[in-house]
Subunit: 275 residues, 2 copies
DNA sequence: GCAAATTTGTTCGTATGTATT
DNA sequence: CAATACATACGAACAAATTTG
């Protein structure tokens, strides 16, 4: 008996799920049933279920039972710039257009606007001294009414003093801030740099995205620094931090010439081989 | 008593970690010590520790104890094409150069070459019928001797019959296959499309990357389809699947004009706010 | 190299609480 | 309200891994 019992039970159930014997959405036998089926104690059964739950293969619902996870509706965001509009992927109109092109309905909540001292990453990316006041606009975004991403943009205050007053207003800027800043200040976004990382969600994020509060589903964080000015000396004028739940989002980056087709999500089978 | 005891204990320990009272690498009190400290049973203490472990705040080592996780050495991979070589980010020489530019030593194991029927994603991306034989080259890659990524490339067999014999040989192609195919067949890589997703590791991956076998650390999968031919009708000639552990890798994508500086990893503080 | 001590891992049993139907 | 199902919490024993003497 090299492997612990809870592990062998978990493998058996996993096999049942991956083979399709237990279908997505289907309920597993109750802990008590499994207890007799495998001749193990309830705690051991629970350990096996935890093994499956931590891998997002099943989910438990108090008072109801344990269920095979339903495959989520994956959404794909294009991060590279739109070849036609030149707009950055995932930004303003480009993002909305992509959502709509997939036959889904985007919406966003009223932004929360704050003025705060720059700190850490933001100060560095915006190339300002720590403590310099900057403007932040925080906005939850939805697809088909379901939480999709949490987005916070940071701007130097001098954009406001130069005339971009609408940045201060807690109202959506439907045409996108890139377009707005271009119209009002003549600023051109000449490029941007995305940093992509994965980490466990914090409490706010878990709550907003309705992620299980055990941290097993990570979030993908995209830190975008946008530049204006001249190509020889790009100057940062905006930092946008977007947070997406990792279990229902994929990202696409195109470079050079690629076929112009709608990007479908990649099917990820649990049995996938890489070794 | 609204919150369960294990949760309150976990929060207390989390606070100790985030405040710096417990430093990275430091050992937590043993389960027995915590048992008396919090006047709880050992199982309850273990539930609290599991809460922390599932969020990658601590790690347990059998026979030793529980330790605050040491911050990992984050490596940043640039996915966008090198503006000078035009080579795809993360590919062959470009990848090696990036690693070396960071003062680190890249290496890779001997590739495993196989001929197999195309299936699923690969068949679709390479635009061949399911079951068509394709060539796969699988290669583990290391940085400073530590496992960094698992990479598998798929090629249509006709590249071999047209003369790219070295693809069949289980030997590294140091100049990169893009350069090799260009030299031997005159093929030009005119673009590529990356699909990025996050999922739990499979068993092979967990073993290779030495990830905890409870699935709490995900892997980032980058599916790159590379195209050749003419811009009006790009044709796929290679699919590369790269798998990276999510806890020590970040990715950068540049678009347009951005400052030409070495990309540093983003510091991700556990106390990060987004809401 | 071995034995003892320490520490976490696994497994059982039991009781009570909370959410849902 | 009652039944069902998962969640939390206690206690206990032995196994396995590691360090220490």
């Amino acid at each position: 008996m090299p492997e612990p019992m809870y592990w062998r039970i978990a493998q058996d159930l996993r096999q049942a799920i991956e083979s399709g014997r237990l279908r997505p959405g289907e309920q597993l036998p109750t802990e008590l049933d499994l207890r007799t089926e495998y001749a193990a104690s309830r705690n051991t059964i629970r350990d096996a279920i935890k093994w499956l739950a931590s891998r997002a293969l099943v989910e438990t619902r108090p008072g109801q039972g344990t269920f095979v996870v339903d495959r989520l509706d994956i959404f794909v965001t294009t991060l590279s710039a739109d070849t036609e509009t030149g707009l950055g992927g995932g930004e303003g109109i480009a993002a909305l257009a992509e959502v709509k092109a997939n036959g889904r309905e985007p919406s966003s909540a009223t932004p929360r606007v704050e003025i705060q001292p720059a700190a850490g990453n933001n100060a560095e990316w915006l190339d300002v001294e720590t403590g310099t006041l900057i403007l932040s606009r925080h906005q939850p975004r939805y697809i088909d009414g379901k939480p999709w991403s949490l987005q916070t943009s940071f701007y130097p205050m001098d954009l406001v003093s130069k005339g971009a007053q609408r940045l201060l207003v807690a109202e959506d800027i439907p045409e996108g801030t890139v377009n707005y800043l271009h119209d009002i200040l003549g600023m051109e976004q000449i490029g941007y740099s995305d940093n992509i990382l994965v980490r466990p969600p914090n409490e706010d994020e878990a709550k907003f995205f309705k992620l299980p509060d055990d941290g097993r589903i990570s979030v993908v964080v995209i830190n975008r620094t946008a530049y204006s000015g001249v190509p020889e000396a790009p100057e940062p004028f905006r930092v946008t931090v977007s947070v997406f739940p990792a279990d229902r989002n994929q990202f696409v980056m195109n470079s050079g010439f690629v076929p112009n087709k709608l990007t479908k999500p990649v099917m990820v089978s649990a049995a996938e081989k890489s070794g």
